[in-house]
């Protein structure tokens, strides 16, 4: 019995190894698409070689878009922009992202899978530059251009990046908040996290803007994971401890949703000025009814669109600008009907 188990383990190992040995030679017999176009690869060689031949033969152009997130409305808007570009330029895309922005390993695996699927280019919103480096190097080796989107990746392998200038956008929110509270009093910023670049940039952009106002006292920055409930609790705790707070900046959709809940539950609407980031139904409704004075919006649709567009340009050998600024805009209740804004905002 015991011996049998050991044998079973050994057999599994052997089969696993046999798989490796088998793959290289059998490539053309199993991948039907590849076999049709690559008679030259019939005498074996390596997988990558077979793949490359397929690409050259002008099959459909595949561009995987590997995002930082997925179910969040923001990423869904990015996805829509990416799909629009895919339609327009007649390419096939997939849109994948890990369940949370902490799941770096999930993103790495998504990248690995995408690279095995014979892509012509790759769009990537990296969660961590170091962690995705092996995948980027592999892309470089195979000659697959990589386009960054949403936040920058400090690597030469990235051809260009489509992103919002988060620091400038958060600074704009800061100046607007200062104006709203008459440039004096206590304020604080509620951020999604202290590890992501967007979190860091928005926090720092806001804090730097606040330095222009000597009469404004900035309290400790709060981090709520972008989670509505957690952000609500944090905002309420700070408001209870400091009843004289004049304004709060919620640095992403979840953070500002928490601030909205807090001031509503504590009956402080109008007494505490709120300034938000991004859009989404909760924020838009709050701006409509005056709970939130205004917000800065990125243009997620443009981010997705520009990323795929840049990927197509790179495939065609055209020059891609290093930074593609996808813009931001400050908006209040008065602007909600502006048709230009309708494209940017999402519910």
């Amino acid at each position: 019995m015991k011996a049998k188990r050991l044998i079973a383990v050994v057999i599994t190992l052997a089969m696993a190894i046999a798989l490796f040995a088998g793959c290289g030679g059998n490539e053309t017999t199993t991948t039907t698409k590849a076999a049709e176009t690559t008679t030259t690869a019939a005498d074996g060689e390596t997988t990558t070689e077979a793949d490359e031949t397929t690409t050259d033969a002008g099959e459909e152009i595949y561009i995987p878009v590997v995002s930082k997130g997925f179910q969040h409305k923001f990423w869904q808007a990015v996805k829509q922009g990416a799909e629009k570009a895919a339609d327009e330029f007649n390419v096939t895309i997939t849109f994948d992202g890990p369940p949370s922005e902490k799941d770096v390993d999930v993103q790495v695996q998504m990248l690995d899978t995408a690279m095995n699927n014979n892509p012509a280019a790759l769009c990537l919103a990296a969660l961590d530059t170091q962690a995705v480096l092996p995948a980027l190097e592999k892309a470089q080796e195979l000659g697959i251009p990589v386009i960054g989107f949403d936040s920058g990746v400090d690597s030469d392998i990235i051809v260009g990046t489509a992103a919002t200038d988060n620091k400038a956008a958060a600074a704009e929110a800061g100046h607007q908040l200062a104006k709203l509270i008459g440039e004096e009093g206590k304020v604080f910023v509620l951020v999604h996290d202290q590890t992501s670049l967007t979190g860091i940039h928005r926090r720092d952009g806001f804090l730097e803007a606040m330095k222009d106002y000597p009469k404004i006292e900035v309290l400790e920055t709060q981090y709520g994971d972008g989670d509505h409930a957690k952000s609500t609790d944090l905002a309420k705790a700070v408001l209870s401890a400091n009843p004289d707070i004049k304004g709060i900046f919620g640095a992403n959709e979840g953070s500002i949703a928490g601030c909205i809940n807090a001031v509503t539950e504590m009956d402080l609407v109008g007494k505490v000025q709120l300034v938000g980031f991004d859009s989404g139904k909760i924020l838009l409704d709050a701006i409509k009814d005056g709970t939130v004075a205004g917000a800065v919006s990125q243009d997620p649709y443009a981010i997705g669109y520009e990323a795929v567009k840049a990927a197509v340009m790179a495939i065609n050998g055209e020059e891609v600008p290093e930074m593609i600024d996808t813009g931001f805009r400050w908006y209040t209740a008065d602007d909600l009907d502006d048709p230009e804004l309708q494209v940017i905002l999402y519910e």
């Binding site: 079973a8 793959c23 997939t94 994948d96 992202g97």
Partner: protein, 336 residues
């Protein structure tokens, strides 16, 4: 396990059946994806599936022991992160040699496991609560000890190779430069840990008591076994495996990611359960767990490479987990 199988005669067939079922589903799934999806069946992709299984697999191996005792360890994911964070602080910040950092990573995991075991076995706190507490504690400690800054091993070029390099490839290349068996070290370590786990579970007193405590803890205690001590041992072993997973994860990402890990224990348990280990304790195999981990990753990879939209990937994975547990219940009912 073996002792139990012999005692209840007919069970051998049922066990073999279960193992065969899990293994044949794995093979079947692999074949289906190979036929349906053009780019699935390739050397690179198969390697990536195994590589993706490595961290989850090692976590699941440790989890198998705990689950066989009828317990649970919700802190697997965050203890893994915390172990790699300690290694990151020692190696990246303090310049401690890498080998010492690796040991520290495993020891940190083992100590967290020991603490879990102490609270569960000595203080009689239910495993769910004790390990939930540990999950929160290690999650917080990972952030607190680093100021929420990820630790990078970029100054140690060899560090990435612990998981990503390939010893087998180097060896056969040394014999004949045109040969290649590029199995990543992470996969070799997974199989090595599996063999180690299998030996501990089936060939030692430790393994025998692990099963005994899961079947009937009270009876085991009354028969003169110091169940508290052995249980602490089980959680410590699980912690040590978690530390190894921490090394693999850190090497893979070339960094200790301070904020990740929470939730990975659930993926690991899914692998354990698919592999036929009972959540109520008393039975389970290492081979099953490995098959479970591979099955989940073949499924995930196959769905991704088939370009199935992500929302449906989750639906499919969830359905497989429920189906696997249901099969387990059906099997148990037949027997009972």
């Amino acid at each position: 396990m073996s002792a139990k199988s012999i005692a209840k005669g007919g069970r051998i067939n049922a066990d073999t059946m279960q193992k065969f079922l899990a293994f044949s589903s794995l093979v079947l799934l692999y074949i289906i994806f190979s036929v349906v999806t053009p780019n699935f069946f390739s050397l690179n992709n198969t390697i990536d599936i195994m590589r993706a299984s490595a961290v989850q697999g090692v976590l699941a191996l440790g989890g198998t022991f705990v689950i066989i005792t009828g317990g649970i360890d919700l802190s697997l994911g965050t203890v893994m992160t915390f172990s790699s964070v300690i290694m990151g602080i020692l190696v990246a910040d303090m310049g401690v040699p890498v080998w010492l950092g690796l040991i520290a990573c495993i020891v940190t995991g083992a100590l967290c496991g020991l603490t879990n075991g102490f609270f569960i076995a000595k203080m009689k706190i239910p495993p769910f609560i004790a390990t939930l507490g540990m999950m929160m504690i290690t999650r917080g400690l990972s952030l607190a000890t680093t100021g929420a800054n990820n630790k990078y091993f970029t100054d140690y070029p060899g560090f990435r190779l612990i998981a990503n390099g390939s010893v087998t490839d180097s060896v056969v290349k040394a014999i004949n430069p045109s040969w290649s068996i590029p199995i990543p070290n992470a996969v070799l370590i997974l199989f090595g840990m599996a063999i180690l786990g299998h030996i501990i579970l089936t060939k030692t007193v430790f393994g025998r008591y692990t099963f005994a405590m899961g079947s009937n803890e009270e009876a085991t205690r009354l028969s003169g076994v110091n169940t508290a001590a052995w249980k602490m041992g089980v959680y410590t072993l699980c912690g040590a495996f978690t530390g190894v997973a921490g090394i693999l994860m850190a090497s893979r990402l070339n960094s200790a990611q301070v904020a990740q890990g929470a939730g990975m224990e659930l993926d690991a348990f899914a692998a354990v359960v698919i592999g036929g280990t009972s959540m109520s304790g008393g039975e389970g195999t290492i081979l099953g767990t490995i098959i479970g981990a591979l099955l989940m990753n073949v499924l995930l990879n196959g769905l991704r490479i088939s370009m199935i939209p992500q929302e449906w990937q989750w639906v499919a994975t969830g359905a497989i987990v429920i189906f696997a547990v249901y099969m387990d219940i059906v099997r148990r009912r037949k027997r009972g």
